[in-house]
């Protein structure tokens, strides 16, 4: 294990930000920390990095305790903090060169790494720009470049894609996968479900400082009761429709979404749509639209917490 966290509890005064939290990160995987705002993702990372003191628990990085003066361990880590963090009066190139230079002594190698990082986040056009001349999204890309240029073994990325446009985001995500493929282990926090699902080998879902579930995206989705969701819009009102739908086999529950629009959730995914359509034609029920979905991570979160992750 690259990272092992056991029973971590961190309080800010009376506020419990992280509550008896466990985490294992294996070598070469992208681990996603998924949770809503304020769930404690950043706090977990800062505690692992020994920026923050904590009340109880045990943290091991590379199998050892990461004390503030363990420069040898820190040299193997790269961090992209959630907030922008670079020198305001140094150019894009100088910033990346500086951060890379904290880890890489050799000049030629450093130049190569810095160029690599610049390609990586696609800011080649802006090498000579000062940060204040960059747009918000470009600043975030610079922020990423500063944390990964030295090609660390272990990388923490704290919501690196906020404010980055869709195209660049895809590019960035692919490159993060690329980093993993070159042997880095990555801890990635986000509250974007799609991102977590697309990118992460394993996901830990956090809420209110606790880890409420973990596994691959598929494992998580299979772990919950809902297996399939069907949404139907009818052409008119039918009598006691909700009860009739509820009585069907496999149906977990029925939610009225709109005037004539219903969401039906099934316990098994066993040709539910076909059975449903058969039932409609038998009963002479006409519909305007019908579609089915497999459960998402949002459903996982909803089932575990009773809250929507997506607003």
């Amino acid at each position: 294990m690259i990272i092992e966290v056991n029973g971590l509890t961190k309080k800010y005064g009376d506020l419990v930000a992280v509550d008896n939290f466990d985490l294992q990160v294996a070598e070469g995987e992208i681990l996603g920390l998924l949770g809503p705002n304020g769930s404690g993702k950043t706090t977990v990372i800062n505690t692992i990095l020994s920026l923050l003191r904590y009340q109880s628990g045990e943290i091991k990085v590379f199998g050892e305790q990461l004390d503030p003066d363990r420069y040898d361990l820190k040299a193997r880590i790269g961090v992209v903090p959630q907030e922008l963090a670079f020198f305001t009066n140094l150019t894009v190139y100088q910033n990346i060169d500086y951060f890379c230079g904290l880890y890489i002594n050799d000049k030629a190698q450093r130049r190569q790494y810095v160029d690599g990082a610049i390609q990586y986040v696609d800011i080649n056009k802006y090498r000579k720009f000062l940060p204040k001349q960059l747009s918000g999204g470009l600043k975030r890309r610079l922020n990423v470049a500063c944390g990964i240029a030295h090609r660390p073994e272990l990388i923490f990325l704290d919501e690196p894609t906020v404010a980055v446009d869709a195209q660049s985001r895809q590019f960035l995500l692919d490159n993060i996968k690329n980093l993993r493929d070159h042997g880095s282990t990555i801890v990635y926090t986000t509250h974007y479900l799609e991102e977590a699902e697309y990118l992460c080998d394993r996901i830990v879902i956090m809420d209110a400082g606790r880890s409420i579930a973990s596994g691959t995206a598929n494992e998580l989705k299979h772990g919950i009761t809902v297996k399939e969701k069907v949404t139907v819009t009818f052409d008119q009102d039918y009598e006691s429709l909700e009860e009739r739908l509820n009585a069907l086999s496999n149906v977990l529950d029925v939610h009225k979404l709109d005037e004539r629009k219903y969401l039906i959730r099934f316990q098994e995914s066993n040709s539910n749509l076909k059975k449903l359509l058969d039932y409609f034609s038998r009963q002479g029920i006409n519909f305007l639209e019908v579609y089915n979905e497999l459960p998402s991570l949002n459903d996982v979160f909803f089932e575990l917490t009773g809250k929507e992750l997506r607003e």
């Binding site: 800010y12 503030p68 420069y71 820190k74 961090v79 140094l90």
Partner: protein, 351 residues
Amino acid sequence: MKNLGLNIKYMFLETVRDKGAIFWLLAFPILLSTFFFLAFQKLDAPELTTIKVAADPNNPYYQILETIEVLDLEQMDEDTARAELDEENLTAYIKADGSLLIKKSGAQVSIVKGIMDQIIQMQKMQLPPERYDFTAVYTKDEAVNLSAMQYFMYTLIGMISIYSYFTAVTSFSTYQANISTLGARLSVSPLSKGTVVLTSAIVSLIFCFLSNIIALLHIQLVLGVELVNNLAPTILILFVASLFGVAFGAIISTSNKLQMDGKIGLGTTVTLTLSFFTGMMNPQVKHFIEDKLPLLAKFNPVAIVNDALVSVNVLADTAGIYLPLVRLVALSLLLFLISMIWIGRRSYDSI
């Protein structure tokens, strides 16, 4: 101490491109010294020439008083004299009984009173006049030419060098996780404490020293106050003063978990206090400290700088400055050492 060069290069660039900071670095000493110049221009009172006194011509002392050089004696009756005294055209009126009429006390009144005392006292001695040897002058004078302006300017330079802690606080605080996200980021890098302290110290020292030199040049060349008679030791003093300013900034930055505003407030207050102890607002305070708290006086950097500048440039005493300067360097190194122990590289309850 890996990559010290790289750190210094980029820290220097980061500082030198901060236009606001650079502006204040230059403007601060120039503005303050100009204000001081304006305030102390007339503080060097004119030399004592004569003292205006008056007496009635029938006054029995009139003839003796007329012979005394320092007095400028006028004939006047008491009523006129009262009016003149009130207008402060007159220092004292001597009445027929030898008593003095004055408006307010002061050195000049004391001199007149001393003269009148002497006349009365000679009567009391009951010796014949020929026993007095009025030709003998027992005192041998040496007047030193010192101006209050110079004195305050030397203090000001001491103060400005401490004020250069601004630059150092900013620089040292860059590396602290609780001050900025940049600080947090640097704290998780393998940047060693030694590199951090050396980088900040060297870069700040360059700017602080520059600021001091500018202050000196401005006072000497633009304001025209003669400060430097012995350049080499003066430069040495300024360098040591800047070194201390930087060390002071380092300790202000690292000794507490305050935010930037708190650190700056703390630094300003300490600087004000040290300047105050050096007699900036009231010279008596300096002597009070020297007498009652000699250790504080010995290690008060503003006082050390002031004294050293006076020694070298006014008293032509270069040998005497080295011990205090060594003390100041030692104090600076101690502060750097403590900063190094305290700086960053620690965990916080909250960042």
